[in-house]
Symmetry: C2
Subunit: 411 residues, 2 copies
């Protein structure tokens, strides 16, 4: 259906060039079309830019957090391992093209008019918008009698324990394969997931998907910290995507961790966290600030003046969120957060169905999310939250030129 991964970085024209558009965006499109591995580092900072697809790590983890998210979990509906591997190769080629701002295959108007287009077309003319596509494999993919992977399940790919207050909907949890699409333009992120689903027809089936309209974490400490739907700055003390030492310690898995195929990869925890915003909105400002442990206006830790001032845990209530989530309260545990706010209509009870789609990457969830989430059992914020969806996926290392998503696992 699509070209193999070997041609992914070839000389195909970008969406923008194909349409013959001119103007300031042309340079970016032309650079992207010239080869994804030559995309410039400063594209990270360009709204219309392309983020390199190939590399030691998958993009979309340490990459500066983009504005919008479309996340999809897939079930594999074939029992044929070779067919699954073929799909992963097709997906890789498509992902390399789309992240470079090019259409899938021969494009929405390429090939012959008598055939369905290779690309669905809704991103024609749009810049790459810093699209990243990040893949992860769930524990169910490693089940016995499926694809012969039962001996390759990483020790860190545990079954997440039940946490107090969890009310998980199986229709919004788990999945054999997860794809995180992040971009500054939601149309580009949705286009990417939709085309992967299209290419995967008959091999995978969309289990659930989630749109995130606003990022709630930043991995660039000098950028303005975004606010979550509680109105507070979120992710102030996140792991910077530029800090290689912290990333190596807390985010990237190593061969010594028990699954050599995961070296350079990471573990993704997703939690759909419904916020009881109507209740929260009736709490006083003082109460809100006590619960979070930061002031609402500046985002400064209570007792300090500025957002990035050090947190003095002794000045926070024992059940304040920032205190319980802080590395010093968790034996130094840290995770890299990339969450997004969501609003999915209303709940039939007159309330908006809104909250935080929490995404966190870590080297090992047992010493990362699980450890911290257990410590949050006494969090005074819990009164206003409910975890309604959940998943854990092993995200393999980045794709080398000529390789494909998951090749270290399947070869």
């Amino acid at each position: 259906m699509t070209a193999g991964p070997d041609t992914a970085g070839g000389g195909r024209v970008s969406r923008r060039r194909m349409l013959g558009l001119s103007g300031a965006g042309l340079l970016v499109g032309a650079a992207a079309g010239a080869g994804v591995d030559r995309a410039l580092a400063d594209h990270h900072e360009t709204p219309g830019g392309a983020v390199p697809f190939h590399g030691a790590h998958q993009a979309g983890i340490a990459t500066p957090v983009q504005d919008r998210l479309h996340f999809a979990a897939f079930d594999v509906v074939t029992e044929d391992r070779d067919r699954l591997v073929r799909l992963l190769k097709e997906w890789t080629a498509a992902a390399a093209a789309m992240t470079a701002g090019r259409p899938v295959g021969r494009g929405a108007v390429g090939g012959v008019a008598e055939a369905p287009p290779d690309d669905t077309g809704e991103a024609l003319g749009l810049p790459p918008s810093r699209l990243t596509l990040t893949i992860g494999f769930g524990a169910s993919l490693f089940a016995k009698d499926r694809f012969g992977l039962q001996d390759r399940r990483p020790p860190a790919l545990v079954d997440l324990p039940h946490f107090p207050g969890d009310k998980l909907d199986p229709q919004r949890s788990d999945g054999d394969i997860a794809v995180q699409a992040c971009a500054d333009d939601p149309q580009v992120a949705v286009h990417a997931v939709r085309n992967l689903a299209r290419i995967g027809f008959g091999v995978v089936s969309v289990r659930w998907s989630q749109l995130g309209f606003g990022k709630t974490s930043s991995t660039t400490p000098d950028a303005q910290t975004p606010r979550n739907l509680m109105g507070f700055k979120d992710g102030t003390a996140n792991i910077p995507g530029t800090d290689d030492d912290l990333l190596a310690k807390h985010v990237w898995a190593a061969a010594a961790d028990g699954a050599d195929w995961m070296a350079g990869g990471s573990y993704l925890v997703a939690r759909r966290i419904r916020m009881h915003i109507e209740t929260w909105d009736r709490a006083s400002l003082a109460e809100q600030e006590q619960i979070i442990g930061r002031d609402k206006k500046e985002g400064a830790p209570l007792g300090a003046r500025r957002e990035h001032d050090p947190v003095d845990l002794r000045r926070l209530a024992a059940d304040a969120h920032v205190r319980l989530a802080h590395p010093d309260s968790n034996g130094g545990a840290r995770i890299l957060r990339r969450g997004y706010s969501f609003t999915d209509g209303s709940d039939g009870l007159g309330r908006l169905d809104a909250g935080l789609f929490f995404l966190a990457y870590q080297r090992d969830p047992r010493t990362g999310f699980i450890r911290i989430q257990r410590n949050l059992a006494g969090d005074s914020l819990n009164e206003y939250l409910q975890h309604v969806g959940s998943g854990l996926w092993a995200c393999p290392p980045g794709v080398r030129r000529g390789g494909y998503w998951g090749d270290t696992l399947f070869r």
Copy 2:
């Protein structure tokens, strides 16, 4: 709970000024803070700008279409007409503040710490982002024995007929009051609807809401026409928001139309149109182009070369969408479209729940949407669509300084 409408245009500081931020966006924020009616016309073209709230017509109709949408339909849960009118006044003050980039009331950190904040805070520090808030009243509000409005129901506010293929979900249809929030930043649009819902607690209840991630129509003919999820340019022949003659003829209601309180207002039809994108994606390019009546790459009418070339209806198939929707096929009927693409997770059958949230404004739906939609009964596109939500609302004229949303109806 909030200040009265008389103070809406006062000298409150903008969100941006309040936080003491500097930079290029400051000028816009400062101008907005100085008074909404002095916001400049060229703010229409500024991504961070403010669109004036007060005027002869409501903003958000002829206004150049913003990038993102949050639409909400409310049920009125009080039987007290005075309480409803008080809410409309409170909403007006909040809308005037938020569209100018200012927080509601005393803000998220104003007032006393012992009280809940007047604003929920998640838009703190964000520019106005061309936010518009547009209100409409549904037929149910005029029911006998509710608010004494039964004699004021406009003749044009009909009950929409059943159209062939309709499969309407009552949970996504109708509502006493509709609010359309459009902005270039979705966080700003969501913040606005969420705060209106918060202010309305006990008076109104969210019946349903819809997020739109990408605009599919433009009201600025010189701008790049966006593409819908079928990959085609949509809304090429829309009514330009700058064409006063066309607006007067097709969009703005007049006193002579049968309801004097609606003079300067308009009628909004919303349709949640699910697209069977998986089926569409398996249609050949030639078939897709025949069905639409335009080529996919340029958006040109079949037989023509460029997008804005005149449509020669004789060169299109008798059941082509563009032909059946064209004014020449509908006695000159035209509507102003402001629709958005949506993706709301998946449908439990392995497919994305995606499509078009169609929004159209017109002077009279009987000679606008209803006429055109009846003519689309034979549309070959119908095989790929299903209308699953619907609503019609009478949107009153714009608010004059000192007035409130709906004052021509309630006073």
